[in-house]
């Protein structure tokens, strides 16, 4: 019965002690000095006991309150320094000036997404626009290799498979459509329509030609089997629309950013959320892995980007400037991770020294919001896509 597993947590007037009633009926208590969460942490670790419910103390679930305290204590325990201190001895990168080398013209409406192909030599990239087209570009010649008409023009994301054989897109149709670029008769056709999400498709990324991961406005991410068109794993846990996802360099994990202001690290094969990162004060719109796979970078409507280290399980740095008051729409790290390129609602891309957290450059050239950004596989160039309907290649 539910009542039997409930226990009461009562607080004494000085607010730093609590008594717990265990399910066995035995009473126990803990005291901790004001502001010190470590003793509470040790108490919970030692006794293994966490009250299963709280009636009087905390308006929401007390477990969350206490485990939050445990987690905060554990993260604080490894904070022997800050990233800022650790990089104090290195100098800021010199001013980075890039020029537009190519402008890819052809879309007739806002561009919502772009993704580089994984083959460093070919310099192909795919873009999606609400003119209802997916275009595969040769970024060097600016030729359109493929112009694929979409069933639904409300597209929000696109992806290029690592093999170069497939592209995918999706949006307000709640589906992820897979297109085969290398069909026998040369025509590009829909190969699969992955339908099951109950909300818009915000992002998709291929693991291979047979698996793709999607994120959705229905607050879940899904791993699909492309061959059968079925969901292999549903990753549930976010409390708000999932807006973006990125796959780790070793393909074992992926990260998602959502409108619940958190980023989550997921183990693809186990189907579990391993870590959750908070700190942002608004929706996370963009997310990416630091090139060595050990850190995650997020971009948010709160006008900041943050870097979270996966192994220290915490935020190490925030990229913010009092002069920037608009949301981050997209981001991409350079090959070494030293530069962080981030697109903003104010039509610009800011280039940050990722270690020193200082702005070292701006890419100004679009006449509307920069909605997507990507660095090519060989790190040679960065591509920006905008609501002004153009893509620009910079280096």
């Amino acid at each position: 019965m539910a009542a039997d597993s409930l226990s009461r947590l009562s607080k004494d007037p000085c607010e730093n002690a609590a008594s717990f009633m265990k399910p066995s009926g035995r009473q126990t208590s803990a005291r901790w000095s004001h502001g010190s969460e470590c003793k509470l942490c040790r108490f919970i670790t030692d006794t293994g006991f966490i009250p299963s419910s709280l009636i009087s103390l905390h308006p929401s679930n007390p477990h969350l309150f206490l485990i939050g305290a445990v987690e905060r204590a554990a993260r604080k325990a490894v904070q022997d320094t800050t990233l800022q201190e650790a990089v104090a001895s290195i100098t800021v990168v010199g001013r980075v000036q890039m020029k537009t080398r190519k402008t890819l013209r052809g879309h007739l409406a806002k561009i919502y997404a772009m993704h580089w192909g994984a083959d460093a030599n070919s310099k192909l990239c795919v873009s999606a626009s609400q003119d209802g087209k997916l275009i595969v570009w040769d970024s060097i010649t600016t030729n359109k290799v493929n112009a694929i008409p979409l069933k639904s023009s409300w597209v929000m994301t696109c992806a290029y498979a690592p093999s170069g054989n497939l592209v995918a897109c999706g949006g307000l149709d709640n589906m992820c459509s897979i297109y085969n670029l290398k069909g026998k008769d040369g025509n590009v056709k829909v190969m699969r329509e992955l339908a099951a999400h109950t909300g818009y498709l915000s992002c998709c990324r291929f693991l291979s030609d047979s698996e793709i991961i999607t994120s959705s406005g229905d607050c879940t991410c899904v791993l699909w089997d492309i061959e059968t068109g079925t969901q292999k794993t549903i990753f549930a846990g976010h409390q708000g629309d999932c807006m973006s996802l990125a796959v780790s360099p070793d393909f074992n994990f992926f990260i998602s950013g959502a409108c619940d202001f958190t980023a989550k690290l997921w183990d693809i094969r186990e189907g579990q959320c391993r870590q959750t990162f908070g700190g942002h004060e608004s929706d996370i719109n963009a997310i990416g892995f630091f090139p060595n796979g050990n850190a995650v970078i997020t971009g948010s409507d709160d006008a900041t980007c943050k870097l979270y280290d996966l192994r220290a399980d915490q935020e190490l740095i925030t990229y913010q400037d009092s002069g920037i008051m608009c949301g981050v729409t997209s981001l991409a790290p350079s090959l070494s991770g030293r530069l962080l390129l981030a697109g903003y609602d104010d039509f610009n891309v800011n280039i940050w020294d990722a270690l020193k957290s200082e702005r070292v450059g701006v890419l100004a050239g679009h006449d509307n919001r920069v909605s997507c950004i990507g660095v090519s596989a060989d790190g040679m160039a960065c591509c920006t896509g905008s609501w002004d309907s153009f893509l620009k290649i910079w280096n």
């Binding site: 419910s53 969350l64 290195i90 040679m380």
Partner: protein, 72 residues
């Protein structure tokens, strides 16, 4: 009773949330000093291979047509 089943299911949801939080709280963490040092090392060691950081000379830039000199 519907009251019971409602509190049962919210208890189940709470227990599931607790289980997930305990899992996340139990992750093995390394010290920030080690994490920061490794990020710094990775950036510095790969700096020379980062074209956007070092700059791309025009002759090697696939996005720029090579300029030819005209001898008059």
């Amino acid at each position: 009773m519907s009251n019971n089943s409602a509190s049962n299911s919210s208890l189940a949801i709470a227990q599931k949330a607790v289980k997930q939080l305990r899992l996340e709280a139990s992750v093995r963490r390394i010290k920030v000093s080690q994490a920061a040092a490794e990020l710094k090392t990775f950036c510095l060691q790969n700096a020379h291979k980062d074209p956007l950081l070092t700059g791309v000379p025009s002759s090697d830039n696939p996005f720029r047509p090579p300029k030819s000199c005209v001898l008059l």
